[in-house]
């Protein structure tokens, strides 16, 4: 018997209920927003640090390192822009803004170092990035404890 042609089976109602439930469950409170932004700052600082470190050890070609640092710089500045519009307390906004700015600056200086190929200068920039990542972590801990 040819299979009966059945389309538009009636469980679309079930699916809509699921969507409503899921969306309501994840509203973005300011605390969550701050936590997310701190995690993002930490992630970008560590990523920039990784690229610099691998380049210094000669594991990655210059072409990749500069391309990656350029794209990280752009994304960090974009995140920096989003901070202003977020519903965050002022001191948090300042910390995040400063953090993103310093990460972007570190990325740019790494870029110029790669162009000039003087590997010796990378060490202290990597230290700054590591410090930035740790700072973001400690603020997140304090935030979590409140």
């Amino acid at each position: 018997m040819r299979c009966a042609r059945h389309r538009g089976v009636g469980w679309s109602g079930v699916v809509i209920a699921l969507v409503a439930l899921a969306v309501s469950g994840c509203s973005r409170s300011p605390r969550d927003q701050a936590k997310k932004a701190l995690e993002s700052l930490h992630s970008w600082a560590v990523s920039t640090h990784m690229v610099g470190e691998r380049w210094m050890e000669g594991d990655v070609p210059d072409a990749y390192a500069s391309k990656a640092l350029q794209s990280f710089g752009k994304k960090v500045r974009k995140e920096r822009g989003k901070i202003a519009s977020g519903k965050l307390p002022n001191d948090m906004k300042q910390f995040l803004a400063a953090g993103f700015d310093s990460t972007a600056r570190s990325a740019d200086s790494l870029l110029s170092i790669i162009d000039k190929r003087e590997k010796s200068a990378t060490a202290d920039i990597l230290k700054q990035l590591a410090a930035q990542a740790r700072a973001a972590d400690s603020v997140k801990e304090r935030l979590g404890a409140e």
Binding site: R2, R5, V19, C26, V46, G58, Y64, A68, S71, K75
Partner: protein, 405 residues
């Protein structure tokens, strides 16, 4: 002897052809965000894939029909057009993601932006199909795909906490980022259970003139080939979890993912990652383009066959040529390849029932599967997983678009 060669080649090609942009991206993101917690969808997806690949090979061996040919026969055109249409749209996005992956691999090595590499990649893939025999796509490209074994070396060298890896096999609920967790589950299932593999595999079996004596080979290829392939995806997840999770890095681009193996394997790790991404994606581009050409031609009754001269199978050739001509433009526009990948994998998961339920009905119909119809385990596992994947996808896609990934 010929059968033994076919068996080994079958297994080797399914290993080499397993990892593509979807599994690399979803497994590495899962490892970076949730450590070893997301190994279970890879295992579940691989089990379902084993069933589906075994079924499509069995259908070809028993009925000498390909999946889409049999679907058109059994359900008629006005039902067949639904999977054909939905799959063509979703698979276009998957193809764009694969082109993006291959183009990005070239950017990693050359520094020239991936947006410039998209068209050359599509052109190169088209040239391989236009000039190359079927064996090239089914044998040679996946053989190079064995370079993806580097992830196994990397994972072992990074020395993960193996008991935590074992815990990842058991489905657990996420402690944080619930929406992102379930979106990654959908991504992994969509990347692993790729419907185009069924159309490609069954067409290869029909073109290779399989008959019922091939049933055992088919079972071995499906089980060994796919499970080893699944192991590769787990290796990607494990390497990413060992490197990115403790460092707190959230993966938002392939330039971050490229660093995964550099710690453990130095510059070898970097270049072999780029090679794996390129070859994995190239293999997938060829398979997808052919799969759509097979599906359309078999469904509409045209002459088809990759071993035929293009002039003998003009409309079959036109389908993959048109698809490859359209493929690169999303990437040239500069849309992030990782974003295209995530969306295409989630949409694949969302449309799994449309692509697979008719196939399950076919495999339970003695007219097509002869006396080798499905066991009830196969039916239950596959139907349960794809319905779950579909509901999860429909729930998480809006969330992910709202949540900004």
């Amino acid at each position: 002897m010929k059968k033994l060669l076919q068996l080994t080649l079958g297994i080797v090609t399914s290993i080499g052809g397993f990892l593509e942009v979807g599994s690399i991206a979803s497994s590495s993101q899962a490892g970076a965000s949730f450590a070893y917690q997301l190994i279970w969808p890879i295992v579940l997806g691989t089990i379902v894939l084993i069933f589906l690949v075994e079924m499509s090979g069995r259908l070809a061996a028993v009925s000498k029909l390909t999946v889409s040919g049999a679907m058109r026969d059994r359900f008629g055109f006005d039902y067949f057009v639904v999977p054909l249409a939905t799959l063509s749209i979703v698979i276009y996005l998957v193809l764009a993601a694969e082109v993006g992956g291959a183009a990005f691999a070239l950017q990693l090595v050359t520094g020239i932006s991936y947006r410039w590499w998209a068209v050359p990649v599509a052109l190169f893939a088209w040239f391989l199909l236009w000039k190359g025999p079927f064996a090239l796509v089914e044998r040679w490209v996946p053989l190079f795909g064995l370079v993806t074994l580097v992830f196994i070396v990397g994972a072992v060298k990074l020395g993960p906490d193996w008991s935590a890896v074992a815990h990842g096999l058991v489905p657990t609920r996420p402690s944080h980022d619930k929406a992102h967790y379930w979106f990654l589950v959908v991504n992994i299932l969509g990347a692993t259970i790729a419907p185009y593999l069924m159309y490609f595999y069954s067409s290869g079996a029909v073109e290779g003139k399989w008959d019922e004596s091939y049933l055992n080979i088919n079972r071995f290829i499906a089980v060994l080939g796919m499970s080893f392939g699944g192991l590769l995806a787990i290796a990607v997840l494990v390497s990413s979890a060992a490197v990115f999770y403790p460092a707190g890095v959230k993966l938002e681009g392939y330039d971050q993912i490229a660093l995964m193996l550099t710690g453990a394997l130095g510059s070898w790790g970097f270049y072999l990652f780029a090679a794996s991404l390129f070859i994995g994606c190239l293999g997938a581009i060829l398979e997808i383009a052919l799969a759509v050409a097979y599906m359309t031609s078999q469904g509409l009754g045209w002459r088809w066959g990759q071993d035929e001269e293009p002039r003998q199978v003009p409309r079959f050739v036109l389908v993959y040529t048109a698809l490859l001509a359209l493929a690169p433009w999303l990437i040239v526009l500069g849309i992030s390849p990782l974003a295209v990948t995530s969306l295409s994998m989630a949409l694949t998961a969302a449309t799994l029932p449309v692509a697979i339920i008719p196939f399950i009905v076919l495999m339970n119909d003695p007219v097509y599967a002869g006396k080798h119809t499905n066991g009830w385990i196969g039916n239950v596992v596959v139907v349960f997983t794809i319905v779950m994947a579909c509901i999860l996808a429909v729930v998480t896609i809006p969330l992910q678009l709202l949540g900004g990934g």
